[in-house]
Amino acid sequence: MKLITAVIKPFKLDEVREALLTVGVTGLTVTDVKGYGRQKGHTELYRGSEYEVDLLPKTKIDIAVSDEQCEEVIEAVTKAANTNNIGDGKIFVFGLDQLVRIRTGDLNEDAL
């Protein structure tokens, strides 16, 4: 199993979620994060002093998937989150050693 972590632009969350549903993902976990990368932050102004806000709001989505689903999910996210602009984000894939559903104790693929 894999854990796919996508860091995307916040306003793309709904589209990505819909795209995931269509490829059969039934669960995910969302975290508000801030990102720093090529996309430069903007300059805010406060009482005459300019200041750089170089951490930009991003949304992180964690999706546990079976090994077979992995490619499809990555593709779905890549497509749905793409705006063709710098800062669209990244997808990280990790090996997932084990998955447990707390309610039932179901293990691994059964817990998805």
């Binding site: 805010e44 102004l45 406060y46 009482r47 005459g48 002093s49 300019e50 200041y51």
Partner: protein, 407 residues
């Protein structure tokens, strides 16, 4: 004076005083909105505490010092007495003047609280609570009443012909001078200036309540200026009070427009905190003579006040490295001076005497405040420890966070 005239004046003074008391809420919201959330409970506590201390000190001795009547020692040295502690209904009758004695006290006491409120904003996020309260005791009990005596108590400044209808100098410059003394000793907040001297912005945590604060001040100022006519029972008085309301409102409007446009033109964005300071600046500017200008001139005086506050905030912050989180020194001090010096525009006061008034008030308050605060500093330290400052004064001193659910 008939009983009914006496009654109307008393009622008018009480309503005015209630509006000025309301300014305490204005300062509290303004300052709570312009500090970081980790210091918001603390500044609220300071405001509640300072208002209360001001009331008690002014009753204990401040009011008598400011209005000693025949007990004054000289035109620069007032008297001292605890007599107001025992002010009750028994002692009062119509011989006191054109309104009741208690209503007079009530109207005056809220002014001294205003002066002290100015200080709390400037020292926000780094001054310890107890030394702040100790300083409030001294400022409201002694420093403010003495210079108040010089002008409104019939002392030396009044004799010189210094004009200050409702206190651009006596209240606002006074508060700003004390604030400047405090900030000079405290220094800037941690992280405000980089090692290369560049100024970093430290955004306020809650702009809507800061704006609410400004609007509360705007409303309260009708009492502040309108009440300072001190009588409304004759047609002439009523007309004067009406003009004061009109001018106060126009000056505030002018101040917002001045500050917003300055900000839009010179910084590219319509900075709302500048609009807020602009409103206050317009109000401070008109306060030295809200009765004499026409509506158009009042607007102009306010508008210039709004432009001044914009440049003053930036200059103090970036050039002089005076870290004033809410812009109090600019809005009440720099613009207070503008208000004092602008009275001749409408034929009130003379340029020279006004300048003397501004210098005397500033000098007295700055020096005495500096001495008192330095003494406090060497005794107990007036600045919060680095650790407490980093943690936030809410946790360090109050034990209650302002917004514990949002983190």
């Amino acid at each position: 004076m008939t009983e009914l005239e006496f009654a109307l004046n008393t009622f008018y003074l009480l309503m005015s005083g209630a509006l000025v008391m309301w300014m305490a809420a204005g300062f509290t919201m303004l300052e709570a909105g312009l500090v970081r959330s980790k210091n918001a409970s603390e500044i609220v506590t300071k405001n509640l505490g300072l208002f209360s201390i001001a009331c008690v000190m002014y009753l204990t001795c401040g009011f008598f010092i400011m209005y000693p009547g025949d007990s004054a020692i000289s035109s620069w040295i007032p008297g001292f007495s605890f007599s107001y502690l025992s002010l009750g209904m028994e002692g009062q009758d119509m011989s006191y003047g054109s309104y009741s004695e208690a209503s007079d006290f009530f109207f005056q006491v809220v002014f001294v609280a205003t002066a002290m409120s100015i200080v709390s904003g400037a020292v926000a996020e780094r001054m310890k609570l107890l030394p702040f309260f100790a300083f409030a005791v001294i400022l409201t009990g002694f420093i403010y009443p003495v210079q108040g005596y010089w002008k409104w108590g019939g002392g030396g400044l009044d004799a010189l012909g210094y004009t200050d209808f409702a206190g651009s100098g006596v209240v606002h410059l006074c508060g700003a001078a004390a604030a400047l003394a405090a900030v000079s000793i405290l220094g800037a907040r941690k992280g405000k200036y980089g090692s290369d001297g560049s100024a970093y912005a430290i955004p306020g945590s809650n702009i809507p309540i800061a704006a609410l604060g400004a609007l509360v001040l705007w409303l309260g100022w009708f009492g502040f200026n309108g009440g300072s006519q001190l009588a409304i029972h004759t047609a002439a008085d009523a007309i004067a009070v009406g003009q004061v309301f009109l001018n106060t409102n126009m000056a505030a409007a002018g101040g917002v427009i001045g500050a917003l446009f300055a900000s839009r033109i010179f910084s590219g964005k319509a900075d709302v905190t500048m609009a807020i300071n602009g409103a206050i600046a317009g109000l401070v500017a008109i306060t030295a003579a809200p009765d004499t200008p026409t509506g158009g001139l009042a607007t102009l005086i306010g508008l210039i006040g709004g432009i001044i506050v914009y440049f003053s905030v930036i200059t103090l912050d970036s050039k002089f490295k005076i870290d004033d989180p809410v812009g109090a020194i600019s809005a009440h001090g720099t613009v207070g001076i503008w208000g004092i010096m602008a009275t001749p525009l409408s034929g009130a006061g003379a340029f020279g005497t006004q300048a003397i008034g501004a210098i005397v008030i500033f000098g007295w308050v700055f020096i005495t405040s500096y001495v008192v605060l330095k003494t406090l500093d060497s005794l107990v330290g007036i600045r919060a420890s680095e650790e407490d400052e980093e943690l936030g004064l809410d946790k360090a001193e109050i034990g209650v966070e302002a917004y514990p659910d949002f983190k």
